[in-house]
Symmetry: C2
Subunit: 323 residues, 2 copies
């Protein structure tokens, strides 16, 4: 099987996103050989998508190729890093040319958008599993991490929350994505990593994370790793028209609060820097919102429109506040 | 599932092989942040092991943890690189504490032997699949690659060939590894990457590869990527007592010629450097052998003890010689 593995990667991926000048040797040797710019940190992140867990069987392979890379690039965005290279470990039940072409097209289009070259990979036979590792560069003085939030920081969010969760809920309800607004479906299947926004926030924001598991969970990671808590206001949450209408109809705030897969950035910043951050987001044409503050007291307090704390939301994630 | 994924990696792997001074941020943030030494290339390799394809269900998880890292480190060895960091993407059918403890123990013991720190990972639910990416450093003037072999080069092999394939054949024959010599079984289940040998060969050898898919296939990669061919002699192949006895009994040369999983190094070198290489291998206590020469004519010619070319072996891999 060695020759065919080799040929699969060669055929579909050896030219993805390249050539970059810092790739001395790409796909096809034992190792890729790469040059990290002097003075920059190497930022790496690895993520796996499994059929039946992260996506349904018969998911459009072009969207899957996009998403497998996007969820990884989103981690680089959260660090304020500049993407450079990716590796791909693809486990496939069978060698399906049409599937591979479509997957490669989705992966490659996103890779080229952000200047990412595929430098290595492994193709194996087995249940459909996609592991991507991305590599980027980060300025050591400006890199963003989860554990730097301080009491008094404002909490910011790019874009809008809950669109992916609503698309998932609606498509489950109707049995397919047919009838769901295309823009809403794209938030679930073709998320766009906030690379430019992350780079702009580097050096301005104090802590950051990308929202993959839902706002409460991911803001919870910032809080627990920074040893702080947070107070957020539901009426400040950035909502698309579709999510706002759904909440009005159902009263269900879990969509924007705990729904995953949005891949927006959640960050904290000194109040003095809010103006600069607003200007940067405006320059990038990125909608964004301040949704609350970092506090000393552990846990996340989520205040509803009435002024009351949402009990369920607090209890569900209180354990992040206890060391 | 996010919190439990997070905790799995934290619990079993966050201290594996660390701390290294060049790890600014390891497991637990969006990205790991790493420092590559000035003037060194970053060498990366990614490999996947799938249950039912690369290993049987109920394989000893401690051996699996060892092997998942070993096969990747072997790629760094083939480049003459020095290992530094690893990432691990683990897909598991269920969260099995005993399995994870044993897997982690095998992975960690090998990581510590070679100074490798686990810096990131992802744990997902699904059919058992293990993807490891290793990262190492290589001197740009001395790094080994597949595409540098030249006609007239001698072809060298570390250690011995066919032990892993024989262990696999015997264990398949008897239904289990019981009754197989422990040392032979370890060649299959606990291969030792030739890291020190690869580093010693860097700057001396011209081309190198690790033997994962069998000598004929992997020497075939060197030949096709270098645009050359090879002539090898079966009576020069390094064989353990067990493999030599098996060939004497069965006449089956496929075990050392096309059997995989040995993770020895196959390299080529100028004839003038053979003395230096022999001295280095002697210094490391590593058995090794010269088994033939690189030739201009594409394809691999494998000459038996009688002086005749082994027909099946040539034909099976002739396609590597045609562009």
């Amino acid at each position: 099987m060695a020759a065919s593995e080799f040929e699969l990667i060669e055929t579909y991926f050896s030219h993805t996103g390249g050539p970059r000048e810092d790739v001395v040797l790409g796909v096809g040797d034992d190792c890729a050989l790469l040059q990290v710019p002097r003075g920059q940190l190497l930022a790496v992140s690895i993520d796996t998508l499994v059929e039946g867990i992260h996506f349904l069987a018969r998911t459009d392979p072009e969207a899957l190729g996009h998403k497998a890379l996007a969820v990884n690039l989103s981690d680089l965005a959260a660090a304020g890093a500049t993407p450079a290279w990716a590796t791909l470990a693809l486990t496939l039940p069978e060698s399906d040319t049409a599937w591979l072409e479509a997957f490669s097209a989705g992966f490659t289009a996103l890779a080229e958008r952000f200047g990412v070259q595929l430098v290595g990979g492994d193709t194996t036979r087995g249940p459909l599993t996609i592991t991507v590792q991305v590599h980027g560069f980060a300025d050591p003085a400006r890199v963003l991490r989860r554990d730097r939030a301080c009491p008094g920081d404002r909490i910011g969010i790019t874009g809008s929350l809950g669109d992916a969760a609503l698309a998932l809920k609606l498509s489950a309800g109707v049995g397919s994505a047919v009838g769901i607004d295309r823009a809403l479906a794209d938030r679930l299947h073709r998320p766009l990593p906030r690379i430019d926004e992350g780079r702009a926030l580097a050096g301005l924001a104090r802590a950051a994370i990308d929202i993959s598991d839902g706002l409460m969970a991911d803001l919870g990671h910032i809080c627990s790793q920074s040893g702080v808590g947070a107070h957020i206001y539901t009426d400040l949450l950035p909502l698309s028209g579709a999510v706002a209408a759904h909440i009005k109809e159902t009263g269900d705030w879990s969509i924007p609060l705990t729904g995953g897969d949005d891949y927006e950035l959640c960050f904290t910043a000194r109040p003095q820097l809010t103006g600069k951050i607003e200007a940067e987001m405006h320059r990038l044409g990125c909608g964004f919102s301040w949704i609350g503050e970092i506090e000393k007291q552990p846990g996340i307090r989520c205040q509803g429109v009435s002024g009351d704390l949402l009990k369920g939301m607090v209890g569900g994630y209180e354990h992040f506040g206890t060391p």
